[in-house]
């Protein structure tokens, strides 16, 4: 057993077993021979299996979920509300100016 190699292999084991990082030739050879590192690897293989089982589990939302969400949304479109308010405000200002101009012209004439 080479303690330095053990340390190096244990650093890359999670990434190797969980599928991201390839194992170098020397590290692979060490893993074949070192029982301590093999035990460590076995732990990560169990973790990988558990993660796969966990990933494959189908989870269903509660039956009332859609109704509850929609009951909160039962109102005008919130995001376009700001624009709508701006448009209404603009229309009111324009109408006010138009009425003022029209009234002034009427007074002048």
């Amino acid at each position: 057993m080479n303690p330095l190699r053990c340390r190096k292999v244990r650093l890359v084991l999670p990434g190797y077993i969980l599928g991201e990082v390839p194992l170098g030739v020397r590290d692979a050879r060490h893993l074949e021979q070192c029982l301590t590192c093999q035990a460590e690897a076995a732990g990560y293989r169990i973790l990988r299996k558990a993660l796969i089982e966990y990933r494959d589990e189908q989870v269903a939302a509660p039956p009332w979920f859609v109704t509850r969400v929609m009951s909160v949304l039962d109102r005008p479109v919130p995001a376009s509300g700001g624009r709508a308010r701006f448009r209404v405000l603009t229309a009111v200002v324009v109408a006010g100016v138009a009425v003022a101009v029209w009234g002034r012209r009427r007074l002048v004439s």
Binding site: I46, L51, E57, V59, A60, P78
Partner: protein, 187 residues
């Protein structure tokens, strides 16, 4: 992150209609995505009740932000990102502990194809992993769920959580080391 049984073009039409204020179209989007959003939420927060709150809040945020949705990513990807951010916010706000793990297995889909031995082993592994995940710091749990369970890239995780890709990789490594230890203890 596609929705099985639903055409992408149907989703696009529904999104367009919902952006124009069609509540019915948005309701259909909620119906289509409810299970995956709730599934992501429960994996992130570990508690069924809180997951329902997170998923609901995520849908509400999605509705409010819809006019800003440009369609650069798929709608489901966009909603998943909102769910992650919502879970992050709500979980850090809440001091509640995780519910009894037995509560979490109520809505598991059909497992009749499994042999009793296999089903028992699977259930035992899942329960042990749940308990191990519950012991992880929030950021580590989020990384494991997003990378190992949901299959996100480090780039997407980094962008969503506001960290660098390197930080995402380093933290995931630490999460794996811890999770292996916790899983060993929980089995």
């Amino acid at each position: 992150m596609t929705s099985p049984g639903v055409e992408g073009s149907e989703i696009e039409s529904l999104v367009d209609a919902a952006k124009n204020g069609d509540v019915g179209a948005f309701e259909r989007l909620v119906e289509i995505h409810q299970h995956e959003v709730f599934g992501l939420a429960i994996r992130l927060v570990g508690d069924r009740e809180m997951a329902a709150d997170v998923a609901q809040e995520a849908m509400i945020r999605a509705w409010r932000a819809l006019p800003k949705f440009r369609g650069d990513a798929a709608f489901s990807t966009w909603v998943h990102r909102i769910t992650v951010n919502t879970a992050w916010t709500m979980r850090s706000r809440s001091k509640r502990n995780v519910a009894d793990p037995l509560d979490e297995i109520g809505d598991i889909a059909d497992t009749s194809w499994l042999t009793p031995e296999r089903a028992g082993e699977t259930a035992m592994l899942r329960e042990a992993l749940r308990r191990a995940l519950d012991r992880l710091p929030e950021v580590h749990r989020t990384l494991v769920v997003l990378k190992d369970v949901e299959g996100w890239s480090h780039g997407d995780i980094a962008a969503t959580l506001g960290i660098s890709v390197t930080a995402s990789k380093v933290r995931l490594h630490r999460a794996h080391v811890r999770l292996r230890e916790y899983l060993k203890e929980e089995m």
